[in-house]
Symmetry: C2
Subunit: 144 residues, 2 copies
DNA sequence: ATACTAATTATAAACATTATAATGTAAGAA
DNA sequence: TTCTTACATTATAATGTTTATAATTAGTAT
């Protein structure tokens, strides 16, 4: 069990969210790696362990985790949402070919928030940024 | 007819994309304002003029325009894509309360693309950024 | 152990988007 | 101008993701 998973489980104890085997498995899947799976990928990954689990359970619980701030929903260009276990602030680099998502840390875009606040009169809360391109693996495939 | 629309029509002449009344109307709708409508909003807006137009026509043509670089598809959190007539490079400031989208110009984030290319090994093509907050109108409402 | 409440399952429905096949039409050639 | 051909449109069905519903099951506090 990773530290990140343990922390997620602990933070759930302070809420009124019940722990169930399915929820534990979904959290484990999300927090034990830095992947950004779709709901369906999670569903398929846990099929062996929970043959009777409904896909609605995956969606419901992802929403529960989102509501308590444990995961983020990423709505990018492709057809289905991806889910990201929340760690620190970071950005995503996305492969336009295979859809793979890689984390990317970049320091200061605070200036952008400040400037946009002045220009638009908005009270700015946050921003998001994604970078699009072709991943090394797909670049190789193209060359063949 | 606005200059932006005329430019869009001109640029289509240099491609092999045929002009049809439906295409003209969709372009007019997109290029005569700076709105960011969904496919369904465009469909409904043109219902009066083209009672027989199929929703597939809207989707097909938005894809055509996207392919030749006249429009951009914006996939935000909500369920359906929005479409933006391409002008110069710009970003969007989005009101979390009423959903309003305001354009925002900001010069150089090229450095982000360069750096992410080095760090991840991707061949980077583009990036997008959105800024989230509360617009002046909704701020006022909150204070009452 | 019991009871209460919430979670899960199975299923159907909703919704956006895409595919298919038949019909209609834009645009260049004769 | 008319003809021709390839492309666009329509109507419809299909697809894929996500949500809603109702019945059953299972956590948790007492």
């Amino acid at each position: 069990m990773t530290r990140r998973l343990q922390e997620a489980l602990d933070s759930l104890k302070s809420t009124k969210v019940r722990m169930t085997p399915q929820r534990h498995a979904i959290l484990e899947h999300l927090f034990s790696s830095f992947a950004h799976p779709t709901a369906d990928e999670i569903y398929k990954a846990l099929e062996g362990k929970f043959p009777n689990m409904s896909v609605a359970t995956v969606y419901n619980n992802l929403r529960v985790f989102k509501d308590v701030g444990l995961v983020k929903e990423l709505t990018y260009g492709d057809s289905s949402s991806r889910f990201d276990s929340v760690t620190s602030e970071h950005y995503h680099v996305i492969c336009e070919d295979c859809g793979k998502i890689v984390d990317f840390h970049y320091p200061g875009l605070d200036e952008v928030e400040t400037l946009s606040e002045h220009v638009t009169g908005f009270k700015v809360n946050s921003h998001r940024m994604e970078i699009y391109g072709i991943c090394p693996e797909c670049l190789k495939k193209e060359q063949h």
